[in-house]
């Protein structure tokens, strides 16, 4: 059985080079033209970005629609999108554009944001590094998670879903090989609702999951 290599990652945001969007139509056109890195950042990397807010929605487009455009209908429609359930970023882009186009067709006026409240298109660099830590048995996973940084949690539980096997987190993908004894944990990991969690909260959820005696 192969060992589990514990990785860590850190993220740094930068400007994408695209002009900001002042209204919904500009937002739509920029989303249509932006790179996949920009789309991924605003949907998936928000949990790694330092913030004072704990917004209702977990992607930046929905938050902006709600807070800056004051368009609660659009915010609700965008806010429910689960980026991890889409087969590709292009698929995700298509869905977002459909929702915005529909909203534009419903409105008689294009909604605007106040000066200073524009949408800024960002991207990020993620530095991934090996912590040097290895675990070889499933029993070692819980203490390892307790020691993990938020970056490790992000890398192994969220970012992992982009890598083969697509859609699975690294913990579940590794535990599968240890047979039926660990299947309840694999299923519990797959069913974990992380959508509203910060990384610290997600770490606590994972610790609680592995501490749950009912699964063993």
């Amino acid at each position: 059985m192969s060992g589990f290599e514990i990785k860590d990652c850190v993220l740094l945001s930068l400007m994408s080079g695209m002009p900001p969007a002042f209204n919904l139509r500009e937002l739509r056109d920029r989303i249509a033209a932006c790179s996949q890195d920009v789309l991924y950042h605003h949907f998936c990397e928000t949990t790694l970005v330092a913030s004072f807010d704990y917004p209702d929605y977990r992607n930046d487009f929905a938050v902006w629609a709600s807070k800056r455009l004051g368009d609660k209908v659009l915010a609700e429609r965008l806010g429910i999108i689960d980026p991890y359930s889409r087969s590709s970023l292009e698929d995700l882009r298509g869905e977002v554009l459909d929702i915005i186009d529909e909203r534009l067709s419903e409105q008689t006026m294009v909604s605007w944001a106040r000066m200073g409240h524009e949408f800024y298109f960002m991207k990020a660099t993620t530095i991934i590094f090996d912590t040097g830590e290895r675990i070889h048995q499933p029993e070692e996973l819980l203490p390892a998670i307790r020691r993990m940084s938020n970056g490790s949690i992000y890398f192994h539980f969220l970012e992992a879903r982009r890598r083969p096997p697509v859609g699975a987190d690294d913990f579940a993908a590794w535990l599968v090989a240890f047979g039926p004894e660990w299947q309840p944990y694999v299923e519990a990991l797959s069913g974990l609702d992380f959508y509203f969690s910060t990384l610290s909260q997600l770490k606590r959820q994972l610790i609680e999951l592995f501490e749950n005696q009912n699964l063993s």
């Binding site: 930068l14 400007m15 913030s51």
Partner: protein, 412 residues
Amino acid sequence: MHQALDEYEKISGTPVIEQLRRLGDRLKGRKILHVNSTAEGGGVAEILSWMTPLMQDLGIDANWMVIEGSKEFFNMTKSIHNGLQGYPVVMHKRDWETYIDVNRHNAEKLRPLLQESDFVVIHDPQPAALLQWFPKRRGKWIWRAHIDVSHPFRPVWKSLRSFVQAYDASIFSMAQFAQLLPHPQYIIAPSIDPLSEKNIDLDVSELEEIRHRFGLDPAVPTLVQISRFDRFKDPVGVIKAYRLVARVKPIQLVLAGGGASDDPEGSEVLKEVMEEAEKDPNIHVHLLPADAHRTVNALQRLADIIIQKSTREGFGLTVTEGLWKGKPVIGGDAGGIRLQVIDHYTGFLVNTPEGAAHRIRFLLHHRERRMQMSRTAKEFVRENFLLTRHLREYLTLILTLLSGEWKPTVVV
């Protein structure tokens, strides 16, 4: 006195410190030089006074140098500062000549260090022109803007841009501040040091001593604004807000702050504030020495509400400090204050003295809400705005620049 990195473990947690050490291992021995224009006073000097030793603690060969300048130079750079924050200032060719002369002088003085560093971080506009005297530099040069440049007075930005565009990268505190430049623009919010004199926990006896020294009445709610005496911090607007509240509720106001050696306007603004206060015994205006960190700490802890009614603000570290001490903050709807003050969550954003007065009364009336905001605010700061996050992002930036062309993912 700076703390060793391990001292932060009990506040930020072991995984955070371990992560920093692992990143630091990949940069051991690299030479990083920070350059700014003041050794004390203001947020930049505070940041550099912890960042440099902590980088050294990680095995990085980090240094911090302060440029020298004449009175004319600092008057001129204050005008640049005001211009970048949107104030229409008149600047003559002769002013820019002074700027270039002082930078040339400092370039020669600091040449060996600047020439041999792997990374040079130039903070704010004052030393930005240094780069032009290093056409054959070996390291990467980064310009770090700490101020709100979201709506600069164009002639000033246009002139400064000519010095800044040749850098390898720039750093802004918020996306809203970034300007069009021909190099990558990274976003790094500043942070506070929880173990510094300004933020460390204080004994009740020390708080009581400061309360007594400043003549504050323990039975009357206290409103505190800590900031340099600068028009953009709107101290006169704070007094107006205080007066609107004082009509209906007993309250006392503390306006306190130090001067910075690169801010020649401070005494003029202080005079205006004293005139506005009109010897009201419940308005306490104090010009504090630059090293009065424990006093500032105590005043923030004695406050019922922290106010930071800036009309322009880079990030507003005094807001972060207030939130870390568990105080709700009433902040001007400007710059980095917007990032930190979330209505009904960590405090309130306001636009006018009337708005500030309304929110002061609201918070004084709803004690339970105030307590709830306090708890939330402190956890947000712990998670995202302590120096450990700030240091991590600098290390990430340096590793990113080392990897060459921008890539979404870099494995080191």
